[in-house]
């Protein structure tokens, strides 16, 4: 982070995501199309961070009913039978079915908390204590989910905590921004 790397954007160039060609917008224009494949090019996705946050928060909210409420109800001659995802995992936990159960469980639960924490720690995006508490929550989710269903609320809470932490940090820190404004010449 100390020395800024020569990215295409800081040099005023655009790499095409469809065909990979690097090209330069014509003088005066901000953005254009790729001369090889015709795909539209842009330096940044518009409002990328804000939109990602919005969707992330929405996803964390959806995560609660998705796990607390039944996912499927089977109605047969012998009666009704509704299952949540976790009940499905318990159902699969039989002498023959336990490997399946092991696949479903991490995919549904630990997958999110832990991999989010890993990504956050690796990129330096999360404070260390938040990242580590992510692992702790993953373990708790794995082990204690059978004891009380309220454990499920931990993950959305953790996301909320993370959101607040990031908000505070981004308000306090200096704005980091690169853009076409910082163009400098490149020998093509």
């Amino acid at each position: 982070m100390s020395t800024p790397a020569a990215t295409a954007m800081t040099l005023g160039l655009q790499g095409c995501h469809a065909c990979g060609l690097v090209s330069r917008p014509v003088p005066g224009a901000d953005e254009g199309s790729c001369p090889r494949c015709g795909d539209e090019l842009s330096f940044r996705k518009s409002a990328s961070i804000q939109r990602t946050w919005a969707f992330l928060v929405a996803a964390a909210i959806c995560y609660v009913p998705a796990n607390v409420l039944p996912v499927l109800t089977t109605i047969t001659a012998s009666g009704r039978d509704s299952d949540t995802i976790m009940e499905g995992v318990v159902l699969l936990w039989s002498p023959t079915g336990w490997p399946l159960s092991l696949i479903v469980l991490p995919v549904v639960h630990r997958g999110r908390a832990r991999s989010t924490a890993t990504i956050g720690l690796r990129t330096g995006f999360m404070s260390r204590w938040i990242g580590l508490s992510g692992y702790a929550i993953a373990v708790v989710l794995l082990l204690a989910i059978g004891i009380t269903p309220w454990v499920r609320l931990l993950f959305p809470l953790w996301i909320l905590l993370l959101s607040l932490d990031t908000l505070v940090e981004s308000l306090g820190g200096a704005p980091r921004r690169g853009g076409p404004a910082e163009q400098c010449g490149v020998s093509g």
Partner: protein, 212 residues
């Protein structure tokens, strides 16, 4: 407005972190990675076009079999019924679930067919010395068809339904179910053996097509 190309064609920007770098010449099988974020920038495939053509043809045959042969049969209280993928979507439509029926039809029949058809056309077009502009158009939109082709998701859904219903009726797997299972792997192999950079390097540019 078209951008201006650079004179150095080996310059690439990493699609993940945008680092500008020069691609080395690679031997088949070797790959180049971004020094900053470790994203794989290019993997040169051995005999890419021929292998992709072979796999695309195999996928086309499997796709036809998968769609015109019964996929699943149910046998309960002495009655038997068979259905194809298309028949399943039709039944969903008749049951009043038009959205689901459309989704199934699109992701399990239309998108895979487009994915295979696009790939066949691209590979055949790329056999020319200078592939024409329409190959570029297909090549640009091919990833979209691959994104929407969700045969493996449908297979998973079918398996879950099979387990759920196995208590109440006897399930008879049809030929199409095995064809679909094979298609999942053939499609993955087809995508993996294809090296788009090889085609992009020789293709007629969009700019030139427009000027004509």
């Amino acid at each position: 407005v078209y951008n201006q190309p650079l004179s150095d064609a080996a310059l690439v920007a990493c699609p993940h972190c945008d680092l500008l770098q020069r691609l080395p010449e690679l031997v088949p099988g070797a790959s180049a990675r971004c020094p900053r974020c470790d994203k794989e920038l290019w993997r040169r495939r051995e005999d890419s076009l021929e292998r992709t053509l072979a796999l695309a043809l195999a996928a086309a045959v499997l796709c036809v079999v998968a769609n015109f042969v019964p996929m699943l049969g149910l046998s309960a209280v002495g009655r038997e019924a068979f259905t194809t993928v298309f028949g399943g979507a039709e039944q969903l439509w008749l049951d009043g679930r038009e959205t689901v029926a459309g989704l199934v039809l699109f992701t399990a029949v239309v998108a895979p067919a487009l994915q295979i058809g696009f790939m066949l056309a691209i590979v055949l077009g790329a056999h020319r010395e200078r592939p024409p502009g329409w190959v570029a158009t297909l090549l640009r939109h091919h990833p979209t068809t691959a994104t929407w082709s969700m045969i493996e998701v449908m297979m998973l859904g079918v398996l879950v339904a099979l387990i759920k219903i196995a208590d109440y009726a006897k399930v008879i797997p049809g030929l199409a179910l095995f064809a679909l299972g094979a298609l999942v792997f053939v499609l993955a192999a087809m995508q993996a053996s294809f090296d788009p950079r090889e085609v992009w390097d020789r293709i007629e540019w969009a700019e030139a097509v427009d000027r004509r």
